[in-house]
């Protein structure tokens, strides 16, 4: 992003995350999803998941997922420069999984994340929690719990910065990225 401004402050995000945790907790209850496993998507999703995980007091440790090897733009832009090891400390088979990401836009990150999950095992169910959701979906993927719905102008982008404090910053796409189809759109960043 060429220029950025703070869009949601750490204090605002703290409240949003608390509300999201409450909503998530209610959803888990109504669905009777016992003993769920929470998994954050690198990097922003992990930051959000760490807070939700603490808030919900889940028993199993937090999982961390890197989707670099499953991205659909490898054939266009090559290997993502920053690859972190995925870390799923608990077997997923027959467990209820809460997948957490920061910003949902195209849906491609989530498509990739689901593929990673299923290469680790067969979860009983997966629900998707995102801190923010915006327009621009390119795949039929919708979150189950959303912190906030962002209404943005064309060319505007939001990005989570962290890990502490968390801030959502608002910026403008560089012009060249607006003209051609976004080469790195699958990150939703």
């Amino acid at each position: 992003m060429s220029s950025t401004e703070v869009w949601k402050t750490p204090a605002e995000l703290e409240l949003i995350i608390q509300r999201t945790a409450a909503e998530l907790s209610y959803l888990l209850e109504t669905r009777a999803s016992n003993a769920p496993i929470m998994i954050g998507i690198h990097t922003g999703g992990v930051w959000v998941a760490e807070r939700l995980h603490r808030n919900l007091g889940l028993d199993d440790p937090l999982g961390r997922l890197d989707i670099s090897f499953y991205r659909d733009d490898f054939t266009r832009i090559g290997l993502h420069p920053q690859v972190r090891p995925s870390d799923l400390p608990v077997p997923l088979d027959d467990r209820h999984v809460i997948l957490v990401d920061d910003v949902l836009q195209t849906g491609r990150t989530i498509r990739a994340a689901l593929n990673v999950l299923f290469d680790y095992g067969r979860p009983a169910s997966v629900i998707l929690v995102t801190l923010a959701e915006r327009d621009g979906r390119e795949l039929p993927i919708e979150p189950n719990v959303v912190g906030l719905h962002a209404r943005l102008q064309p060319g505007q982008q939001i990005k989570l910065t962290g890990p502490a404090p968390l801030e959502l910053v608002l910026g403008q796409c560089p012009r060249e990225r607006l003209r051609k189809p976004l080469p790195s759109s699958p990150t939703d960043e």
Partner: protein, 328 residues
Amino acid sequence: MNRTNIQLDGQGNLKHFLTVEGLGRDLLTQILDKAEGFLGVAQQAVKKVPLCRGKVVANLFFETSTRTRTTFELAAKRLSADVLNLNISTSATAKGETLLDTLRNLEAMHVDMFVVRHAESGAAHFIAAHAEPHVSVINAGDGRHSHPTQGMLDMFTIRRHKGDFANLCVAVVGDILHSRVARSQLAALRALGAGEVRVIAPRTLIPAEAETLGARVFYDLREGVREADVVIMLRLQRERMRGALLPSEHEYFQLFGLTEERLSTAKRDAIVMHPGPINRGVEMDSQVADGPRSVILEQVSNGIAVRMAVMSMCIGTQNLQGQRHTDA
């Protein structure tokens, strides 16, 4: 094409991996970092990632190999590539086909990557120089020259145990003269900034340029491994020796074979490495090879992750070229 380094594309991305030399610390560190990510694939229920789906990798082994060929094959398969294993000694070359003709035929089958092992130094480089621009070449060992993925998997293993290279003392023991593995290790250790590098061998097995490779030369094993953090043993390359360089394997073991007793001068937490295959009772005692400080089998597992990293980086670079057409 970047004339200064055939291994890189115009933007400095890895396109071929022929030698550690000339790649620099950043790129080597990038390989190690990426390998770290691939290590986790072995933990998945489905030990595969879809990165290189639809790509074809041909293993061209003009020289025998078990470990290297199988780990390259496994690495390619874990990346979801299709793998062709060409047993060259029983195929076209034996019927008189030239290397270039073999190459052209494989290119006509739309192979995207060649993994080459050859007894002649420079063979992989030759293939890279003559291959179509969309093809990548990885050197899996050429003569005495280079075995870069082995060098890098050794660096990866060292880094996982010891962290930063700056304060490390690494001793390489054995047939330095004939060892392409040693050349790649020494080049990588220098590029990554290892604190002290030593080579230890009989005078007949030390190349003239050892000191220019940035290594201190020792002719006594006990002295050489003193206070070392890492001891890398090399295999005696009988098949490459011409003339009487050694009186006998037995005598070699008496002087340069690694035993627990000789290892006692190294640091307490020193690790012992060997690229394999081990000749027990020649380079090292079984007690050491199977002992608590040995990381030899870990090297094998790490080799898959490092080869996945290198292969996916090169294939990723091909994709960029496919879009830009700048490298033709």
